[in-house]
């Protein structure tokens, strides 16, 4: 029996194993090797030992990018999850109207980033929609993308706008799987049910949370396309997240060895994070 099970398991997993070995494990090994070399995408990788890592830890740009990445991850993941959950609770109830609302919120998520960023560049430009709203709100126009203090937040607003719908859908699904009585009690319509929400609904959604957090954090820490397209990492590198710094080093400066070293550092950080999460998941399962 166990041989049957083992054979079946191996058979079902085989395509995935082949895929992950070919497209991730071997390239990861290549990246690990290249991180100890100087490699400009042509010629021969030159072994340089720990030079890349040494250069990384002494580079202000690396540390500033690491800080921006931390900021970006925390403030992309946190608000997205909170907003998504708060919105998902009333939206999780059945009904055609709510289905429509879910669909509307989801639209930004299906828009290619290339299109979305141009839209937001227009919104954020001087005299654009963001200024109009800010003026109507009495805040006054702001240099959204051109001030290093604002740009990261402007970027985050776009990112949250873009992805919150996706997480709403995941939470709605998670909520709908809860027993109906809990779910009904959890609608936010008063102080008492607000407490139910925090004491009952949120704890019951723990597994959904785990999944969402792992996905959102690993996604945020690897994403560079929004910053790359919206601000090119500027102004004054204020929005240069680590993956963008990596991408620039790899493909603009042809320092593939150095870029690989950054990737390995990111990998280690994310592995620690993922394994922590997995441990939590596991303790949750048994």
């Amino acid at each position: 029996m166990s041989t049957v099970e083992a054979r079946a398991g191996a058979g079902l997993a085989a395509p995935a194993i082949v895929y992950f070995v070919l497209f991730w494990a071997l390239p990861a090994l290549a990246a690990l090797y290249l991180s100890f070399t100087s490699y400009d995408l042509s010629g021969t990788p030159q072994w340089v030992g720990l030079d890349n890592y040494r250069q990384m830890v002494t580079s202000d740009e690396f540390w500033s990018s690491a800080w921006v990445t931390l900021l970006y991850t925390v403030f992309a993941v946190g608000p997205t999850i909170v907003i998504a959950l708060v919105v998902a609770v009333p939206l999780a109830k059945p009904g055609r109207f709510r289905a429509w609302l879910r669909g509307l919120i989801f639209i930004p998520a299906v828009m290619p980033l290339v299109g979305a960023t141009v839209l937001w560049q227009v919104i954020y430009s001087t005299g654009g929609l963001a200024d109009t709203i800010a003026q109507a709100a009495g805040v006054g126009a702001r240099p959204w993308l051109t001030d290093s203090d604002y740009a990261i937040w402007a970027l985050l607003v776009m990112v949250i706008w873009k992805y919150v719908g996706l997480y709403v859908i995941i939470f709605v699904a998670g909520l709908q799987a809860l027993p109906a009585n809990v779910f009904e009690a959890a609608a936010i319509d008063g102080a008492r049910t607000l407490r139910t929400f925090f004491l009952v609904t949120v704890p019951l959604l723990r597994r959904t949370f785990t999944f969402v957090i792992v996905v959102a954090v690993t996604g945020a820490m690897q994403s560079f396309v929004p910053a790359y397209l919206l601000t090119k990492g500027g102004p004054v590198n204020a929005t240069q997240v680590l993956p963008l710094y990596l991408y620039n080093n790899a493909f603009s400066y042809s320092r593939f060895g150095y870029a690989s070293a950054i990737a390995i550092v990111l990998l280690v950080v994310l592995l620690i994070f993922a394994f922590t999460q997995f441990t939590l998941v596991r303790s949750d399962e048994e």
Partner: protein
């Protein structure tokens, strides 16, 4: 230092999993591409793959020209690929990595040094142009035309989209500010003075606005300032950053004193100028058609106009220029035909057609006399060519100029004073070029 042959490591991935048979095939396949297809005897034939960036007007013109050429030389197939401009370099870098690049590329001349230093490009061979010597070839172009296309005394390409940056200004804004629109500023000191008059209280309208947050434009904006003062960005022989000098700091301070970096437009400084938010712009010949495309209400000669690049009072004029180049990959299978095609594009009235259809200048000798070059901006470009500087020629150009951009940005955004920013740049250059 140990070294592993270039692709062995990466190929390992394929070998490990696909077994010997496939790699055997590809290995034998690698060795067989050293026979050039066309030659001066056989004439142009075979396939030429061309990559360039996407630009609607050019795409249309170029496709038409390919059809025309293929009709004339039926044995040739030209296969163009139009890549979004932001991604062209990434695409090229990866293509060169596999050793199977396109035959012909049109890229910014500023990336030439990097590609040439990696041995990716073939030096220009006069024979491919049907001439006996390089000098003969050069004589068919403007005198300064190859300056941007030379690396370590080797020419690697022919110029196209040749530009020298000069001054653009809004006549309407000048009038509103009580300035004479027929007397544009001629010195940087005047520019500063005019800018002051053209800037309103909250700096929502400004005088001269630089093109910010962009590598190549950072260089094009800054070179006239620092070179005009007799300074240098880097010393190419000693490979040192030179911003932390009196000239460098003065240029940086001047750069930081103009415009408002917080103004924002999806088309950057071009958009601000097109809408009249800024009154002056340092830009190239293409500006005359770009501005009305952004804002149809802006009209050349009426709303805006152009002038020669300013100089520092009592100093020589220095203009910054850039050029794109046609280059042929060293591994091209068909270099003769590629160059033949490029040469053909400069023959007859093709240069004239190209200029009127796309606004791209191929600086062949006498181009300025063509019908399509009769406009003011073309004449200004022609006038500036002798004193046009194309900036440093470095394999590490992108990273170096990014460092320059960082320093310029931190000065104009008031994150650092000029001295600190200059030092930061020199340090960065030290690291990059070591």
């Amino acid at each position: 230092m140990s070294a592993i042959p270039r692709r062995d490591l990466l190929r390992g991935a394929a070998l490990l999993t696909l077994g010997g048979a496939v790699s055997q095939l590809t290995l034998t396949g690698c060795g067989s591409d050293d026979q050039p297809v066309g030659s001066s005897k056989a004439g142009p034939q075979g396939q030429v793959v061309v990559w360039m960036h996407e630009e609607p007007a050019n795409t249309k013109y170029f496709n038409a020209k390919i059809a025309e050429y293929q009709k004339k030389y039926p044995k040739v197939t030209i296969k163009p690929l139009y890549v979004p401009i932001a991604n062209l370099d990434t695409k090229l870098s990866t293509a060169f990595t596999t050793g199977a690049p396109p035959d012909l590329i049109k890229v910014g001349a500023w990336t030439l040094a990097e590609r040439a230093s990696k041995g990716q490009l073939a030096p220009l061979a006069p024979a491919d142009f049907g001439v006996g010597s390089l000098d003969q070839l050069k004589s068919r172009f403007e005198a300064n035309a190859f300056a941007a296309l030379t690396y370590e005394n080797q020419i690697y390409g022919t110029p196209i989209d040749f530009n020298s940056v000069h001054l653009w200004y809004r006549r309407d804004r000048f009038e509103q500010a009580g300035l004479d629109p027929d007397k544009p500023p001629t010195t940087w000191e005047q520019i500063a003075e005019f800018s002051q008059k053209l800037t309103n209280a909250d700096a929502s309208k400004v005088g001269l606005q630089w093109q910010l947050a962009d590598n190549i434009w950072a260089m094009l904006n800054f070179i006239p300032l620092i070179h005009g003062l007799g300074g240098q960005i880097i010393d190419e022989s000693s490979r040192r950053g030179m911003l932390n000098t009196p000239e460098g700091i003065k240029a940086l301070e001047y750069y930081g004193s103009l415009g408002n970096p917080k103004l924002s437009d999806p088309v950057g400084a071009f958009g601000l100028f097109a809408k009249g938010t800024s009154a002056m712009l340092m830009s190239g010949r293409f500006t005359s058609s770009l501005i009305p495309a952004i804002n149809p209400e802006a009209k050349l000669g009426k709303t805006f106009d152009s002038a020669i690049v300013p100089s520092w009072e009592g100093k020589e004029k220095v203009a910054a220029g850039y050029s794109w180049g046609w280059m042929v990959a060293k591994k091209a299978k068909n270099p003769f035909t590629a160059w033949h095609f490029i040469n053909w594009l400069t023959e007859g009235d093709n240069v004239d057609q190209q200029l009127s259809a796309t606004g791209l200048v191929t600086p062949t000798a006498g181009w300025q006399k063509l019908a399509s070059a009769s406009d003011k901006a073309s004449q200004q470009l022609e006038e500036q060519i002798p004193y046009t500087d194309f900036g440093p020629v470095l394999p590490q150009w992108t990273e170096t100029i990014k460092a320059l951009l960082d320093s310029l940005e931190s000065v104009i955004h008031k994150k650092q004073d000029a001295k600190t920013a200059a030092t930061a740049f020199d340090d960065a250059v030290g690291r990059i070029l070591k």
